[in-house]
């Protein structure tokens, strides 16, 4: 059938192409099937039931809910937050009551413990008194110091990730590295780095470098370098090729072309990625402290293991505040003319 024959039909009789066909329907069905199959395996149905019960209780419907109980217990333990630092005076070497730190005062704490009397074989209540030094906001200051250390770990993890990720990106981008085997090697390395979870890397690095921030910084750097290497490379490949062609035409080397024709184009995206990684590294730095790689995580783990949930609450609020503040700062910075 020639085109002119088709054109003879009045446009009122034409069939406007349908936006969805059987392929779309099939794809939707496949997606649904996968979700139903996997959802049952990861107990999403049970999660829905449990959450529903909890919401029912919260709304005043009554009944029993394990989830609601759990939440109430946790929140009850986290609050009130621990703000002050209390130290047993007996444990402070060379304590001088006339020379207290600023804002600090001494309190007497009364503790009662049940002990088994060896003579009567009965439980007796023993009341003991001890003097404690109370520093209001002492614990807040300690958490702030630890938070700053956490941020420093994240900052250096990010910095080292840029130093390692950018060259890998240049070697992995099609328009900058024509040799396919170099590209393949670079991309494989980047995938490998990205595949190494910080927590596991930190665990091994703690063995090698000992407890402290070095393991944390390196663990973050390894994973983030893999992330940045991939995303930097993708932006290089997606950059507008026209300015690149203009410089290639006059014989400019690939490295100089990257500097002048690609970098100015990708800069806003690079800053966005890098800030995202910094943001993520701050959150990850809190977590990898759990295995002894420095920062607030080490403090969090210690307090959690000692059942000091008030302290844990203070730390969680501090982490939340830091992430919010960094997010605000980075969005401010991105909106300025770069």
């Amino acid at each position: 059938m020639s085109l002119s024959v088709v054109e003879l039909r009045a446009s009122a009789q034409w069939h406007f192409p349908r936006p969805y066909g059987w392929k779309t329907a099939l794809a939707v069905m496949v997606v649904f099937a996968i979700l139903i199959f996997t959802g049952h395996r990861v107990e999403m149905d049970r999660a829905a039931v449990l959450t529903g019960q909890a919401i029912g209780i919260a709304a005043g419907a009554g009944g029993e809910s394990q989830v609601a109980k759990g939440f109430t217990a946790v929140v009850g333990k986290l609050f009130p937050l621990q703000l002050d630092e209390r130290t047993d005076i007996d444990r402070i070497a060379g304590f001088d009551p006339r020379d207290l730190p600023p804002l600090a005062h001494v309190e007497t704490e009364q503790t009662s413990t049940r002990t088994l009397n060896p003579e009567t074989l009965k439980l007796d209540m023993v009341v003991s008194h001890k003097q404690v030094l109370v520093q209001p906001f002492g614990y807040v200051i300690r958490v702030a110091e630890k938070m700053f250390e956490t941020w420093e770990i994240a900052l250096w993890g990010t910095f080292l990730a840029i130093i390692a990720g950018l060259p890998l990106a240049l070697l992995g981008a099609r328009n900058l590295t024509p040799a396919p085997w170099i590209r393949f090697a670079s991309r494989t390395l980047v995938s490998l780095l990205r595949a190494m979870p910080e927590l596991i890397t930190a665990l091994f690095l703690v063995l090698a470098y000992g407890f402290g921030p070095i393991a944390g910084v390196l663990a973050l750097a390894v994973h983030s370098a893999g992330f940045l290497g991939k995303f930097y490379a993708e932006d290089i490949e997606n950059a507008d090729p026209k300015p690149q062609e203009a410089l290639t035409a006059i014989g400019v080397s690939r490295f100089k072309m990257f500097r002048f024709a690609i970098l100015p184009q990708v800069m806003p995206q690079y800053i966005a990625y890098t800030f995202y990684i910094l943001d993520r590294n701050v959150r990850m730095a809190t977590v990898i402290g759990l295995v002894g790689a420095g920062g607030i995580g080490q403090e969090l783990k210690g307090r959690y293991d000692m059942y000091n949930y008030g302290h844990v609450g203070t730390i969680l609020v501090a982490i939340f505040l830091l992430v919010v503040i960094l997010d605000q700062l980075s969005s401010r910075l991105r909106s300025t003319r770069l």
């Binding site: 026209k242 300015p243 062609e245 203009a246 035409a249 014989g251 002048f260 100015p264």
Partner: protein, 255 residues
């Protein structure tokens, strides 16, 4: 510099024959306009000069030096190029775009720092003034400029290394008629003061007649006409573009 096309052919992998045995000699300092319908092989012809396209057969010689893989590194900096889409970095400043034309002559570390030698900075200022922009434009982003101003930046960049040959690939295709005439006048003037040979593809016949020393018309990868502007008759145009066209003839009628 004399530019010689010696029996140049280019067949793309998809089977299209962009050039079919083109032979052409363009003497130093000539403003040569290439006309022809879309797909006639104008861009391919231009791109053979600086090796953006490698001919399948034949060769291009610039002052008797053949353009090939070994000579490309020295030849490319002597061939300026002006593009249809301006091909500037729109987020960068006018200054950065213009001075990037000197990159082949600048070391990698200097390029990385972005601080160019004084001679090139002065040259860039001079060119920005010559193409009709002011000092205030230097810091402006290219994306803030009009199309005509952007092509002025493109011309300034192309002349940074005083090229012996200028390739202009439909340099005014997206500009209005008055701006197009201004841009071509600018290109002709700058090329003339430096004695640069210009190879310029165009779709506007009136502009070709006004600025060209010589017009070469192509059709299906071969030269269909080669002569002075006054020799380009309505019959020739009909032969090149296929059908008689009133607007094109109106262009011909201009003084």
């Amino acid at each position: 510099m004399t530019l010689v096309f010696d029996d140049v052919s280019k067949h793309y992998p998809d089977g299209t024959a962009a050039l079919n045995g083109v032979s052409l000699t363009i003497p130093k300092g000539q403003f040569c306009v290439i006309l022809g319908p879309s797909g006639a092989g104008k861009s391919t012809l231009l791109r053979c000069v600086n090796g953006l396209v490698q001919p399948c057969r034949g060769r291009v010689l610039i002052d008797k030096v053949a353009v090939d893989a070994s000579s490309l590194k020295t030849i490319r900096p002597t061939v300026g190029m002006i593009h249809q889409g301006f091909n500037l970095v729109s987020r960068s400043s006018v200054a950065a775009n213009v001075i990037s034309g000197a990159l082949p002559k600048v070391g990698a570390m200097r390029a990385l720092s972005g601080v160019f030698p004084q001679t090139y900075r002065r040259k860039a200022c001079e060119l920005v003034r010559d193409v009709g922009l002011s000092e205030l434009h230097l810091k402006r982003r290219v994306s803030e400029l009009s199309g005509g101003q952007q092509q002025r930046v493109g011309i300034a960049r192309a002349f940074m290394l005083d090229p012996a040959v200028i390739l202009a690939d439909e340099p005014v295709a997206s500009l209005d008629p008055q701006t197009s005439a201004d841009i071509l006048a600018l290109l002709a003037r700058e090329a003339n003061t430096r004695g640069s040979t210009v190879l310029c593809s165009l779709h506007q016949i009136d502009l070709a007649l006004k600025f060209a020393d010589r017009i070469v018309a192509m059709r299906a990868g071969a030269i269909a006409f080669d002569g002075a502007p006054r020799e380009l008759t309505a019959e020739v145009l009909e032969r090149i573009y296929g059908a008689p066209n009133v607007t094109r003839l109106a262009g011909r009628a201009r003084p």
